[in-house]
């Protein structure tokens, strides 16, 4: 439980903004606008991370999601010019909505039904240094695997989009 009024107000403001932005992702008619709202959602989620006293993760979120992933998505939209740019739904819209709503209901039920073991912990002090410790000591193997994964993903992405004849792709 966080009993700091400022933080609670911040959480609700951020949560509502994020929720609205996320809804807009589903609602807007243009794909590019959806990407923009998604980026705003990412920024809002970063704010929620800060509320949860995870400053490093929050900043990484802004850097990676809002900065890189959103940009990648705009790239993907722009690189597929002849494709449909409407943010339209398939025939699965209604089943998907029902399924998502059911899932939400179930999860909310579980959340309020579970007896969580809440600690009265204070907010973490600065987390960057301790996160670094964690990465390089107990989690060093996943860390290295993650870096290999990133390399693989990079190579894979390049291979997937590489043109057969090297004509000097224009940026």
């Amino acid at each position: 439980m966080i009993a700091d009024n400022g933080i609670v107000i911040a959480f609700y403001v951020l949560a509502i903004t994020t929720g609205i932005c996320a809804l807009m992702v589903a609602m807007v008619r243009e794909l590019i606008q959806a990407v923009v709202f998604l980026a705003l959602t990412f920024v809002g989620i970063a704010g929620i991370y800060i509320v949860l006293s995870a400053d490093f993760v929050a900043v990484a979120q802004v850097l990676i999601y809002a900065g890189a992933v959103a940009v990648l998505m705009t790239f993907a939209v722009m690189l597929t010019p002849a494709a449909d740019r409407k943010n339209s739904e398939t025939a699965f819209q209604l089943p998907a909505a029902i399924l998502a709503g059911l899932l939400f209901a179930v999860v909310v039920f579980v959340i309020y039904d579970t007896n969580w073991r809440i600690s009265g912990r204070e907010a973490f002090p600065a987390t960057a240094a301790s996160l670094g410790e964690a990465f390089l000591k107990p989690f060093v193997v996943p860390f290295e695997i993650a870096s290999v994964l990133l390399l693989t993903a990079m190579v894979g992405a390049i291979v997937l989009t590489k043109e057969e004849e090297d004509e000097g792709a224009d940026a």
Binding site: L79, P81, A82, E163, E165, A169, D170, A171
Partner: protein, 368 residues
């Protein structure tokens, strides 16, 4: 398999920061690359050739100012030469020297403008234009001193020049060509010719091969950049150019960078010519007395001068009346544009802008 993309049509002009007037280029662009260029001109068309048929030969001189308004003296000179050729008018020595002096000053002014605007098209933020304007202003001051106008000079007359130079002209000219401008041109050499960014932007951009240049009737710096030493002042000397010592700067590659260098070098050569002309300037009348409503004999004449933009030719047909029966201008700005399409296709937008800047068109002359 390349990514399929749909070309976009972009209007570069007529209202665009770098089209040098109301010139419109409809570029079809695929990404940053130009697939097709269509040029649309005529926004400044004043039908001068038709208007001239209703005015006397002398009344037509101001039209030549308004054609290439950046090189009014050259236009005046070319037109007067053609009428003189048609009517067989002798021009006094002094007038011939004065014509050379003013035509060369005009070349300096026009090339200043062209170079500055070209670097501006390369993306330098107004600084080169301001520098070039500063030098051009000094030349225009001399024009103002002599004929009262800075831009549309209307100075040459059939049979000479309108006014003799005032007393303070020669000292001012001496200061300009011996103190001010040589220093400025050194500065241009240091700032522009050796500039790596300009090299990167302008080398291998807007290429013209010698064959293409001759086939497309190019002239002026565009032709010389392709490696062809051709200058009307040498090839078909008019006025007293045959008495002057000067060199024709010629490029190797035919790219925009060569053209810029050629323009800077031509300005230096112009100063050289002016020095010789001032040194040899004879006394005597500045004008042959020619009736204001001159009636050249029926016939036709084609005469050409080397204007800063290229070969500026005037084809005049007379039916013996006081007005030309037909007056045609061979406008270098128009004809030099014939290669624009070949030069820009396959390059990027930025290259197209640089190319257009290096051709140095003047829409007043292009549309007439």
């Amino acid at each position: 398999m390349p990514i399929k993309s749909e070309p976009v049509e972009v209007n570069i002009g007529p209202q665009h920061p770098s089209t040098h007037g109301v010139f419109r280029m409809v570029a079809k662009i695929d990404g940053e690359r130009i697939v097709d260029v269509k040029m649309i001109v005529g926004y400044l068309h004043r039908s001068m050739e038709k208007l001239a048929e209703e005015r006397t030969f002398t009344q037509n001189i101001p039209f030549t100012d308004r054609m290439d308004y950046l090189a009014a003296m050259s236009g005046n000179l070319g037109y007067c030469l053609s009428v003189e050729k048609l009517a067989g008018v002798e021009v006094p020595e002094r007038a011939q020297y004065l014509r050379v002096i003013f035509a060369e000053l005009q070349r300096v002014a026009s090339h200043c403008m062209a170079t500055g605007a070209f670097i501006n098209d390369c993306g330098a933020w107004q600084t080169p234009v301001m520098y070039a304007f500063r030098d051009r202003e000094k030349v225009l001051d001399l024009f103002e001193m002599t004929c009262g106008a800075r831009l549309t000079t209307n100075y040459m007359r059939i049979g000479g020049v309108a006014f003799d130079i005032p007393d303070e002209f020669l000292p001012a000219l001496d200061r300009l060509i011996n103190d001010d401008l040589p220093f400025r041109f050194e500065e241009y050499d240091q700032l522009l010719v050796g500039n790596e960014i300009i090299m990167m932007r302008a080398r291998d951009v807007g290429m013209v091969s010698p064959e293409m240049a001759i086939n497309a009737s190019l002239s002026g710096p565009l032709l010389r950049s392709a490696g062809i030493a051709w200058d009307i002042r040498k090839a078909d000397p008019y006025c007293v150019y045959d008495r002057m010592q000067f060199d024709i700067p010629v490029g190797y590659n035919g790219d925009a960078y060569d053209r810029m260098c050629i323009r800077i070098e031509e300005m230096k050569q112009s100063l050289r010519i002016i020095r010789q002309a001032v040194h040899d300037l004879p006394g005597g009348p500045h004008k042959t007395d020619v009736p204001l409503a001159i009636r050249p004999p029926a016939g036709e004449a084609y005469s050409r001068v080397e204007s800063p933009k290229g070969e500026l030719g005037f084809y005049v047909v007379s039916d013996g009346g006081p007005a030309p029966y037909r007056w045609h201008v061979r406008a270098p700005s128009l004809i030099n544009l014939s290669v624009l399409r070949e030069m820009t296709i396959g390059k990027s937008i930025a290259d197209a802008i640089v190319t257009l800047g290096s051709i140095d068109i003047n829409v007043g002359e292009l549309d007439r």
